[in-house]
């Protein structure tokens, strides 16, 4: 037992002394978490991820009230965070701003817009004059937001128009007002009703998770990055086994009165310990630097242990398959990145089809992320029992497979 511990501790010391390895073990996950936090607005106080300050160019050529009302909506205090509108003199200048990628969308209100909805006294109803939205194709999300705002405004205008018409027609039909008074009553009623009418359908929107505890976007991103670079650490650990074989220190260990199983167990213990140390440093660091709440400490510790067991299994399997230390490195990097994307470190798994979500279950990343997210949302040990069990089974199965392969090749032969 002492020998196993000695070999394990030696490998941990070696791993943390290797400055090149530390870059990918500790620096890279930190830097990328920091970057993700920056691009999601986690550090700029705007914690609802999404768009803000959308540059909109507005051209109002309409002389009536409705065009100006839309301009007022776009400039309203409610939308001040979301939109950053600027006025342009003519439509050519507005289109130019979108073409130059200075704006996400141009809203062009042509002359006669109001008159086409509310015909002036005595005039016949004109053809519909359309507002033009000129959209920047590289900013579909921002443009979609503005489109929704304009749609909502137009639907209110439409309600006003229809309400006025319906009210007057029905009042006249039921004999409540005289036909001569219709035109005058129509406009007044329409405007009043569009403003007053309560919507018959309301929406109660809520966000999953405990209401009191806002979900921190970093609670998803930080474990995602940590788990991805955990795969590097375990592959690097496996590499040290092959390096020792190539340098001849492994045969030397084996001629000493130390059983092959002890050597292997020591090596595995070393990889496991390095992984746990890496995760612990990353978790402690992000707690202190980013004020990130990981959740119930006991459950976090259990989940870290299980995730490292699962990842270590993969590290051993890679080592057993590869023929040289450099092959372990490149295979390890490839698997690290592939598992990263399959396990949800880059994009949410919910956007992928069911069969990819099923495949993702072979990665420690997917199970680990599921567990860490549950803990960050206030869950405890019972909520992460399934991920922990799955990770432990994964580790055991892969360890068995690796031992079989090692036995077939012999640990010391090339």
């Amino acid at each position: 037992m002492r020998k196993i511990l000695l070999i394990g501790f030696k490998d941990v010391t070696l791993a943390f002394r290797d400055r090149a390895a530390l870059i990918l073990m500790l620096a890279a996950p930190f830097v990328l978490t920091l970057g993700l936090g920056m691009v999601t607005g986690r550090f700029s106080g705007n914690s609802t991820s999404g768009v803000s300050d959308i540059p909109v160019v507005v051209v109002n050529q309409d002389a009536g009230d409705l065009g100006q009302a839309l301009v007022d909506v776009l400039n309203s205090a409610d939308l001040a965070d979301l939109l950053a509108p600027t006025a342009a003199g003519d439509s050519a200048a507005a289109r130019q701003a979108v073409d130059a990628d200075e704006a996400a969308i141009a809203v062009i209100i042509p002359a006669g817009f109001t008159d086409s909805i509310i015909p002036p006294q005595g005039a016949a109803a004109a053809d519909a004059v359309q507002i033009e939205l000129y959209v920047n194709p590289t900013r579909p999300t921002s443009a979609g937001v503005v489109q929704a705002v304009v749609d909502e405004y137009l639907s209110r205008v439409e309600v006003g128009r229809v309400a006025g018409t319906v009210a007057v027609t029905q009042l006249v039909a039921s004999g409540r007002i005289a036909p001569q008074a219709a035109a005058a009553a129509g406009q007044e009623l329409g405007q009043r009703q569009a403003a007053e009418a309560a919507a018959p359908i309301r929406l109660q929107a809520s966000t999953a998770g405990q209401a009191a505890q806002r979900f921190d976007v970093l609670a998803y991103l930080a474990p995602g990055m940590a788990l991805m670079f955990l795969m590097y650490t375990v592959a690097n650990g496996g590499r040290s086994l092959l390096t020792e074989r190539a340098q001849g220190t492994l045969p030397r260990l084996l001629v000493s009165p130390t059983a092959t199983a002890q050597v292997l167990a020591g090596k595995v213990f070393g990889i496991f310990l390095t992984g746990v140390a890496q995760m612990t440093i990353l978790i402690a660091g992000s707690t202190l630097l980013f004020n990130l709440q990981w959740g119930d400490p006991l459950a976090v510790a259990a989940l870290v242990g299980a995730a490292v067991v699962g990842a270590t299994g993969w590290g051993l399997l890679i080592t057993a398959i590869a023929k040289s230390p450099s092959q372990v490195s490149s295979l390890g990097s490839a698997i690290m990145l592939t598992f990263g994307i399959l396990g949800g470190s880059f994009i949410s798994l919910s956007t992928l089809p069911a069969w990819v979500q099923a495949i993702s279950k072979i990665t420690p990343n997917a199970w680990g992320l599921e567990g860490f997210t549950a803990l960050a949302l206030g869950g405890g040990l019972p909520e992460v029992a399934l991920p922990i069990a799955a990770l432990l089974v994964m580790g055991a199965v892969l360890f068995g497979a690796a031992v079989l392969l090692f036995n077939r090749q012999g640990l010391v032969q090339r």
Partner: protein
């Protein structure tokens, strides 16, 4: 010239000595582009955001809401029994869950549950709000019209009131159906009509990422030769420092151009992207980007101590710069300050230039600024690299 060619050829052989390099050269970039570009839902399949819907009302109004949702361009309703829907939502398999409660017939409250910090959940909320706004319009008008009538002269019986309401509702529905479109949406393009395609973002972003990292890794080549002592050996031959640097860099830049061409061809053939639209502009931008990245790698090479350090650093810096440059997620989603700061990175300019070509339909004049900035990066970093270059 022969020397430069010989040096470039030597580095190519070194790089592909292990066949696993092909994984990083072409296979993984394609896999990542495919996954991030929504390659799993090509063309005919539905790329709208899935919203779980539980319909416990079964009323005509509920059906109207469902029909309107189904017609939405942004979301796709997936009606499920409550238990199944809630389970899927808890497992984060869908971005949002809409519940139409029992008794929802003349209006009432719908419940929408959203995943935290999820862009698709925001899209779902916007779409649901738009739909209920439309579905509710006729009801709103009929109710207010009836109230208006009642305030002027009360109804004799409840049946009269209902008849009045029904007549108003029917007229309102007709008027809304006949209402003309009052808004028209056009996509900004210069010459050709270009459809927005999320795959274009993924293709451009992954191209930059996977070319950028190995070019930064150029730093490792110098460290490797310094460690092996082969740089010193070259010193005793009549080879100038400039020739050596030029040979090494030319080799890597050529490889990068080959890699980019392969990725672009795959993007055009398999994902139908418009890469072929402006070949000259594309070539200009690719050369400028490869030079800028290689220059950064050369400068980095004078700071690193070992090959391993160089490969770790190039992976970390490459991924971070790709992320901040908008290669992984659209830069429009970033906070203003980050968007401005990212202008300091070559990846941002390369991405902007590629999107100008593939989405905004521009050609050489449209990418001159981006290519110029990239050339500027190249000049500055080459100067640093050459000034600090040491043989040992």
């Amino acid at each position: 010239m022969t020397k430069i060619f010989a040096l470039a050829w030597k580095d190519t052989l070194l790089r592909f000595a292990s066949r696993s390099e092909l994984l990083f050269f072409i296979i993984l970039p394609l896999v990542f582009t495919f996954i991030l570009g929504g390659g799993f839902n090509p063309g005919q399949a539905d790329s709208r955001v899935r919203v779980l819907v539980v319909d416990e009302a079964g009323s005509a109004l509920a059906r109207e809401v469902l029909d309107a949702l189904a017609a939405s361009t942004a979301v796709r309703p997936d009606v499920q029994p409550r238990a199944a829907a809630e389970e899927q939502f808890t497992d984060r398999q869908a971005a949002a869950l809409l519940i139409i409660p029992a008794g929802f017939a003349q209006g009432g409250e719908l419940e929408l549950r959203q995943q935290p910090n999820n862009l698709n959940a925001q899209v779902a909320e916007r779409a649901v709000r738009a739909v209920i706004g439309r579905v509710g319009q006729a009801l709103t008008v009929a109710a207010s019209s009836t109230a208006e009538a009642e305030s002027r002269q009360p109804f004799a019986a409840a049946a009269d009131r209902q008849a009045y309401f029904d007549a108003a509702l029917a007229q309102a529905e007709t008027l809304f159906t006949e209402a003309p479109a009052r808004v028209t949406v056009t996509r900004a393009t210069t010459q050709d009509p270009v459809d927005y395609d999320p795959a274009a973002n993924a293709s451009a972003g992954q191209l930059i990422t996977w070319v950028f990292i190995p070019l930064l890794g150029l730093s490792g080549l110098f460290a490797f030769e310094r460690q092996q002592g082969t740089l010193r050996r070259l010193l005793v031959t009549p080879t100038q420092r400039g020739t050596l640097l030029a040979g090494t860099i030319a080799g890597q830049v050529t490889l990068a151009l080959v890699q980019m061409t392969l990725l672009v061809v795959c993007g055009a053939v398999f994902m139908g992207l418009g890469w072929a639209r402006a070949p000259l502009g594309l070539a200009l931008l690719m050369v400028a980007f490869a030079l800028a990245a290689a220059a950064l790698g050369t400068a980095l090479g004078t700071f690193v101590k070992s090959e391993n350090q160089a490969s770790g650093l190039s992976m970390m810096l490459g991924m971070a710069m790709a992320l901040l440059g908008g290669c992984w997620y659209p830069i429009e989603l970033f906070p203003e300050a980050v968007r401005t700061a990212a202008k300091l990175l070559p990846t941002t300019w390369a991405m902007q230039g590629l999107l100008d070509l593939v989405l905004r339909g521009q050609d050489v004049p449209g990418v001159l600024l981006e290519a110029g900035v990239l050339a500027g990066f190249a000049a500055v970093f080459f100067a640093v690299g050459v000034a600090r270059f040491r043989y040992e």
